[in-house]
């Protein structure tokens, strides 16, 4: 029990549970199951981008990928246009989305390395270009996703979205990658002390390259699935994922100073974020109040989690 209480990801799940109960009490238990189904349906996308962002943030202070929303939009636009509603093109569309992710990852890391600039500025500059490409490429794009892809993203088994099950498995795999592989341990080591990691013989640059590329790949995967889920790609589809990708990482109990992270918290935080908005909606809060509450809760969580003193 004491060991369980020690887990940093516990509080995200507790928060999600409390908010869900509050919603259910307000409605007298009506629709509580549906709310949970919806929460799993939407949380999936937060978790996918959250995994990539978490690995990046784990690399240490200053590491964050601001190009996630633009990458989502570009991958969604490219894959939807390429698939052109044809079921037979689903795999090609997926590969195209991954190609976008690979390209973005190389671009981001290239800027960080060649220009020797902080990752925030590098990914910001890249985001400008990626977003513009997406806008120019996707203008007037009104293509529905292939039916099979749309079905896959919306199918449920006993109220549980199939996609959510897949992403729970994916999260499990990534947890193993983080905690049990040389690559994952390298990421954590670099986040705790980059100099020590380098002296210990860890290939810092290769690890950083792999991490930024992986983050872009996850963002692309999110864009691909999201365009299937929401009936096509749109230019603003990535917008809310900048905050979401960082928020789920932080609320999930990962240290923003880097070096300490966990995968389960992403799920807890993603569910919490969705259920919170649902609760405020159920209570009939105005759009403005909802936004203010979302902001204040994120700040409260980060204040409570506290800034672990960054190792200097």
């Amino acid at each position: 029990m004491a060991r369980l209480l020690d887990k940093p990801w516990l509080w995200a799940f507790v928060g999600a549970f409390v908010v869900w109960i509050a919603t259910a009490l307000f409605t007298g238990g009506m629709g509580a199951g549906e709310v949970l189904t919806a929460a799993f349906t939407f949380a999936v996308f937060f978790v996918i981008v959250g995994i990539g962002q978490m690995f990046v943030i784990t690399l240490g202070p200053g590491n964050v990928d601001l190009s996630v929303p633009a990458t989502i939009t570009l991958a969604g636009a490219v894959s939807t246009k390429l698939m052109d509603t044809a079921d037979s093109m689903i795999l090609i569309g997926f590969l195209a989305a991954m190609g976008v992710g690979l390209g973005v990852g190389v671009l981001n890391y290239g800027l960080i390395r060649l220009l020797r600039i902080p990752p925030i500025i590098a990914t910001l500059s890249a985001a400008f270009i990626i977003q513009s490409t997406a806008i120019a490429y996707g203008r007037g794009l009104r293509i529905k996703p292939p039916e099979m892809l749309a079905d896959f993203t919306t199918t449920r088994i006993a109220g549980m979205p199939v996609l959510a099950i897949c992403v729970i498995v994916l999260a499990g795999v990534m947890a193993v990658v983080l905690n049990r592989t040389i690559y994952g341990r390298s990421v954590i080591a670099i986040g705790q002390n980059r100099r020590a990691a380098r002296l210990a013989g860890i290939s810092v640059e290769w690890t950083r390259f792999a991490t930024y590329t992986m983050c872009a790949l996850f963002a692309s995967l999110c864009g691909y699935l999201l365009s299937g889920f929401s009936g096509g790609a749109s230019l603003g589809m990535g917008e809310e994922y900048l905050l979401a990708s960082i928020a789920v990482v932080v609320i999930g109990g990962t240290s923003v100073a880097g070096g300490f992270s966990n995968v389960p918290g992403l799920w807890g935080a993603a569910l919490f974020m969705f259920l919170l908005v649902t609760m405020l909606n159920t209570f009939g809060a105005a759009a403005g109040v909802r936004l203010i509450m979302t902001g204040l809760i994120i700040i409260t969580v980060i204040v409570l989690a506290g800034g672990r003193k960054a190792p200097r």
């Binding site: 202070p61 200053g62 964050v64 800027l111 060649l114 220009l115 020797r116 600039i117 902080p118 925030i120 500025i121 910001l124 500059s125 890249a126 985001a127 400008f128 270009i129 977003q131 513009s132 490409t133 806008i135 120019a136 203008r139 900048l242 905050l243 960082i246 928020a247 932080v250 923003v256 100073a257 105005a286 759009a287 403005g288 109040v289 909802r290 936004l291 203010i292 509450m293 979302t294 902001g295 204040l296 809760i297 994120i298 700040i299 980060i302 204040v303 506290g306 800034g307 003193k309 960054a310």
Partner: protein, 311 residues
């Protein structure tokens, strides 16, 4: 030769040189732009962006990043478009509250050692929500005196140029030429040294955040003076533009190395880049991309200069 073109001089000339180059290109493409009216039109929107960039610069000086400045400028514009017209006392109080919130945010981030990115990202929702509550639909009107100021037509020199010069001069004198300004920059450059010397880091950080709040507010006021109506999302793109502006203007990301003059020049460069693309008849879709490209080119040049310096 080697002393004449030292990396240090090159680096400080880079922002102004890029602006001059862009200006020349615009005048070459469209000679009529080189007139009083042309400059007035092209540079008008540069004033709020320059003010927001200065606000972002204050935050960057203490090694933080403000991802809420766009939402905050929008919030201030909404207050100015509604409360400041209908009930000036409450309007002024609300704007002062915004500045106070910024100072407290600085204190919170310092005391709890929080990552500014996450806190300000959360604040962007708070400002946006507050703006939506005040002004659910685009509308409002601009207070007469702000409108009067922003549409001034002084003789010979267009108002935006005068305003930009004044902003750069005031901030330069305050931050670069006063002794407390040096302490404030030191709080970003070498916090431990500043603390050992007996200065309060908390006070320094709160001051910098408060100044960011003040200049963000001025950006909101200037913006509504130009547009005459407000909207909660009116300044959403200012967040990224302001960061790009500071970096373009020669500001470093960490270490308190910033340049107010450079920041204003950076903001003007970004604004003019839009006009340049229009004159080139490049579709507006590529405007954001051009911002990114300019940023990368300037950073690449700077990296080259730095590399030359190391040799």
């Amino acid at each position: 030769m080697a002393t004449l073109v030292s990396p240090r001089i090159l680096r400080s000339v880079l922002p102004a040189a890029s602006l001059a180059l862009l200006m020349l290109a615009i005048f070459w493409l469209q000679p009529r732009a080189a007139s009083y009216m042309g400059l007035n039109l092209m540079l008008g929107l540069a004033i709020p962006i320059a003010l927001a960039t200065i606000a972002q610069m204050f935050i960057l000086t203490v090694n933080d990043l403000d991802l809420s400045i766009g939402a905050y400028v929008g919030f201030c514009a909404c207050i100015a478009g509604t409360l400041l017209v209908d009930a000036p006392v409450y309007g002024v109080l609300a704007l002062a509250g915004g500045v106070l919130a910024y100072a407290l945010l600085g204190a919170l981030i310092h005391v709890r050692n929080l990552p500014s990115i996450v806190v300000t990202l959360g604040m962007s929702f708070v400002w946006l929500g507050a703006a939506v509550l005040i002004l659910p639909r685009p509308g409002g009107s601009s207070p007469g005196w702000i409108r009067w100021l922003m549409t001034l037509r002084p003789e010979y020199v267009p108002f935006p140029i005068l305003a930009a010069t004044a902003i750069a001069a005031v901030v330069h004198l305050g931050l670069m030429r006063t002794s407390y300004g040096a302490v404030l920059r030191g709080a970003g450059g070498n916090p431990r040294a500043i603390e050992r010397a007996g200065w309060s880091l908390l006070k320094a950080k709160m001051t910098m955040y408060a100044f960011a709040g003040i200049f963000g507010m001025l950006a909101g006021l200037a913006l509504i003076g130009l547009t005459t109506s407000a909207d909660a999302n009116i300044a959403a793109r200012y967040t990224l533009l302001s960061i790009a502006g500071v970096i373009l203007g020669g500001g470093e990301f960490v270490g308190g190395r910033v340049s107010p003059t450079g920041a204003v020049i950076g903001a003007i460069t970004l604004t003019l880049a839009g006009s340049f693309l229009t004159f080139l008849q490049i579709p507006p879709d590529w405007q954001i991309g051009a911002t990114g490209a300019i940023l990368i080119i300037v950073l690449a040049l700077r990296a080259l200069i730095n590399r030359a310096e190391e040799r």
